[in-house]
Symmetry: C2
Subunit: 192 residues, 2 copies
DNA sequence: TGACAAATAGACCGATCTGTCTGTATTGAC
DNA sequence: GTCAATACAGACAGATCGGTCTATTTGTCA
């Protein structure tokens, strides 16, 4: 039974829950949460349907968990990326991170934007995750612009949020050039 | 048969094709192209299924036609809005239009962004429409920044594109404040 | 070894999806 | 009045959706 053996090996290495999240992450991000059915997730994760509903209860919750892990990882990722940069330069350095993201092979825009636009139900659990992440991000931007010592740090932070959204949305449609354009603009803004 | 009479009256006023497009426009934009089935469109349009397939051939083509009309209207809308403004001020004035759009009751982000992110198939007919509209828009921005006489008009035009994308995407998630932030930034950029 | 928890496989349900087809009613041109 | 074009109503097909359920297999621990 080599097939089973492979599965079992995977199972002990990773565990069903994580396999499901990994598959959900890849598929939901790459193709959208409405375009991907749970059967696709199950087959990609080599998992049984009962396991999905045991661990997550519903597809909506799986979507929320996917987004939660995504945003959590993104935060850690960004903070690690900026750790070696002096606080006063972090706002600008952040846009290097954005450019690198937009240029990465699997980039396909912002998962938060996608999910919010696909799930119009205001009560969807994934929306809470999205809202929290936006609040965290806005707070970081204020922190960085304050540390940068620019004149109007509040307005500058809000402008950088616009630049970030534009970089990510634009890069999805037109390619990573948009992210570089955003960085160019951020540099200009933070210099003045 | 008052029911039929009502339908007939509507039919002679508007015509099935336009009724279908009107319904598709409202539903697709408001809830997303994957979330809305053709039955919803048919019922909203008071039309028969055969009419939809007679005029459009498939749902994908209906989506493409919806986007085409949307973008065509948007172009006319923007050009009319800017007609009375001197060319040198149009780049900035355009962001007044964006703010007004973001503040409008039914605003729900950019239909192009939504469609591109929902329909990941690169060969989907709607993608051609989206690409054309982006090209038109980029061209207008270059035109306006050139007329504005800024130093680096090419780079400025690209930066304004980022600001536009950020204004629209951000406003969808956080409200129209983002559009105002983008305008603030555009003014700053065009002044320097 | 035997009990137990966790995972698997997959049948099944009702709903919904796009798309096809049949048949009928309405309309305008001649 | 007849005919062709157009639109309507809706049954139907085949696939897929999210979700429930039963039955079996596996790994762990006493």
């Amino acid at each position: 039974m080599p097939k089973k053996a492979r599965k079992r090996a995977k199972a002990t290495e990773v565990g069903v829950r994580d396999r499901l999240l990994n598959a959900a992450d890849r598929l939901f991000y790459q193709e959208g949460v409405r375009a991907v059915g749970i059967d696709r997730v199950l087959s990609e994760a080599d998992a049984a349907k009962a396991s999905l509903y045991q661990h997550f209860g519903s597809k909506d919750q799986l979507v929320a968990s996917y987004l939660e892990r995504r945003t959590k990882n993104a935060r850690a990722n960004i903070e690690a990326y900026l750790a070696g940069t002096p606080p006063s330069l972090r706002a600008l350095k952040f846009f290097d991170w954005v450019v690198a993201w937009a240029e990465s092979k699997d980039f396909r825009g912002c998962p938060l934007q996608h999910t919010v636009s696909e799930l119009t139900d205001a009560a969807h659990p994934a929306r809470t995750i999205a809202h929290d992440q936006r609040a965290w991000f806005a707070e970081r931007l204020r922190e960085w612009t304050t540390a940068a010592g620019v004149k109007d740090s509040e307005a500058t932070a809000r402008a950088l949020m616009v630049l970030f959204d534009g970089a990510v949305a634009g890069s999805e449609v037109d390619g990573p050039q948009r992210a570089s354009d955003a960085r160019w603009m951020a540099r200009k803004l933070l210099a003045g």
